[in-house]
């Protein structure tokens, strides 16, 4: 094995550990910290099913963002939808044809549209970057990390596109490398520069995910204003520390 391949094997395992471990850690923290009061933004659903629907519409259609600003919504939604397509398309590099997922992965819509999804991603991201630069309000609230995050993902999308349309890489060898990671039977990684750029940027993204604003993905499901059911009069809501306070002075008896 080449030294480069060994380096990437190590980096990939580290990235997966940080990504999975970091996000799990954050989710556990969000779960552990109680919401002491009922604070759904109303009108809010009165049942759990209703809340599931509210969250679904937020995740799938970005409802609230749509109400807020159409431009950010268009760019943001296109980017996320394209990201999803690109993700499914990439599955073919990490699962074998006899997997139960293969019928989905090999769908025409995933494979052909997935190919163009990269362009849609870049379109959406450039739009978001443009807003950050040209809208004075958004420019004011942006930190260097906000620009870098967009540039990082643009870099990932562009390098991915280049492998499709400019310089192709040895995809068979790449898949062997990836599958090798799963099977602990490590293989060489093709040393094309664009592939390395693409993978390195993805590794960086994985490393920073749990310590950055990318936490909005799991965080949405822990946002009390959105996930709470509107039933404070019917069901008594009490946090562990609120209960402790009560037990101490006995004034709610």
């Amino acid at each position: 094995m080449t030294a480069l391949s060994i380096l990437y094997v190590v980096l990939f395992y580290a990235a997966i550990a940080v990504l999975v471990g970091g996000i799990t850690n954050k989710i556990l923290q969000y779960k552990r910290v109680p919401a002491p009061l009922k604070i759904p933004v109303t009108p809010a659903p009165m049942t759990k099913t209703g809340v599931a629907w509210r969250l679904t519409t937020e995740v799938v259609f970005f409802n609230s963002l749509f109400r807020a600003t159409k431009w950010t919504w268009i760019f943001g939604w296109i980017f996320h939808a394209a990201l999803l397509l690109a993700f499914f398309r990439h599955l073919r590099y990490v699962i074998s044809p006899d997997s139960f997922l293969w019928p989905i992965v090999s769908l025409e819509v995933v494979q052909s549209f997935g190919k163009y999804a990269g362009f849609a991603m870049v379109f959406g991201l450039v739009g978001l970057l443009g807003r950050r630069i040209f809208v004075d309000r958004v420019r004011y609230i942006s930190s260097p990390s906000d620009y870098l995050m967009l540039l990082l993902i643009i870099g990932i999308a562009v390098s991915g596109l280049m492998m499709n349309y400019v310089v192709r890489t040895d995809i068979v060898q790449l898949k062997a490398f990836i599958m090798g990671l799963f099977l602990f039977d490590w293989q060489n990684l093709p040393s094309d520069i664009i592939l390395l750029v693409h993978l390195t940027l993805v590794l960086i993204l994985s490393f920073i995910f749990p310590i950055s604003k990318l936490l909005h993905a799991p965080g949405l499901f822990f946002s009390p204003t959105r996930y709470q059911v509107d039933n404070p009069r019917e069901v008594r809501h009490l946090s562990p520390w609120g209960a402790e306070m009560e037990a101490k002075d006995g004034r709610n008896a």
Binding site: L37, L65, A68, T69, I141, S143, L215, T225, G242, M245
Partner: protein
Amino acid sequence: MADFEIPETHEFPVIPTVMEGVMSHSAPFLAKAQFQEQLGFPGDAGLIEGWKEVFLEKLGEMLGKYRSLLVFMDICVKCGACTDKCHYFLGTGDAKNMPVARQDLLRKVYRRYFTFAGKYFPKLVGAVDLTEEVVTEMYSYYHQCSECRRCSVFCPYGIDTAEVTMAARDILAHIGMGQKYSNEIIGKVFKIGNNLGLPEPALADTLEGLEEEVEEDIGVKVRYPLDEKGADILLVTPSADFFAEPHVDGLIGYGKVFHAAGVSWTVSSKASEAANFGLFIGNYENMREISLRIRDAAKELGVKRIIFGECGHAWRVAYSFLNTLAGPWDFLDPNYPVPQHILDFTSDCLDRGILNIDKSENDWMTLTFHDSCNVARASRIGSYPGSQFTIPRKVIKAVCNNFYDMAPETIHDATFCCGGGGGLLTDDLMELRLKGALPRMEALKNVIDDKGVTHMAAICAICKSQFTKVLPYYGMTMDQIVSVHQLVSSAIILEGQGDEDESAADTEEAA
């Protein structure tokens, strides 16, 4: 007049250009030791010794107690959706009045001391050290937020700046930077029973006076009872209802509706206040303490139900938190919601046809309705989501012939705060209050011009007080703001009422 300019109103809202620091001079008076102590806070109108450690310790504690704060500190992506949604930004153009920028005042400290990125790469992620300058800025801008939640409606993750403001204010109070206005008022509630500091004898006097006034007016003895044991209903209403216009006309209305419905009710001198400023200062303990007075009063008086009068944030605390803070309410009649909103009660009476209404009494007015932020975005009134919008309008339309809504993007859950909510209804913040009222004033002016609206009804004591103050600055008059139950009061005809008129008419005929 004020020594600053009242913003111009437009036919369509104008999003201002971002300006840095134009409102950085705005800050309410700090609470002196006497107002800090009674709430359990240290200091005397300034930073305490070792404030930095206390600040960080308190922030850490709150991150472990409030999921909202923890998650909101982490997940903002700076998309900008909220940046043009705050009435204080729209009215002042100050960059730090954009909700996300306001949150960032605390977030940048959170990042510096509680996150990996902020500890090792502060410049990259906009993290800053905790300094006196930073804290001063927080005190200023966290008192330029009325905790109205409009930003959270538009945030893709529901990030609620109100939660951040409340946490920040609580932390500030713990390092000696409590706000005089709110803290002084909470002290009065603890000592005397209400925000205005009306002691029991004065309250008894006021209510007796009301009874006489109403009897003189309509010839019917409508009761306004105080501390009556064994009454069915405990009415908890903002203390402004006991004396100020137009609030008191609302209280007269509640009494008439109760009278017509034939229920027994009472006000409590112990819980003679619906407002709960514990919400504004973001302090659970104080909010609970204030709420528990209602529990104690309900038990002492042996009532079966609790009804709240017209008040916005009070209704939020009542509807959303009372069960948590002062429950369980298993000693009350389970057939009624605890607590119930007065509009829910009146609406039900209308449905049952037990109110005799003469709508023409209100024909000289054309109404619009201001959705109060806490009712609109933090509670419900009836049995279904959105009933906080439909029930008030239904009641108004049942007692008035002329009603028009303001522009759709300024009502319901997109309603604009009056500009004086969240503990900002104080003279030391007058510039902020006037400028923050701009979006609502604009929408009101437009509906006055287009539809001939003459009056705006509201169901919140703070809204009513704030509008009474700011309407004249925008070229309108202070009496253009009315209580919803004031409208009910004018239109309702009680049994026995008008007998005199009729007999007078009879006499005339006979003559």
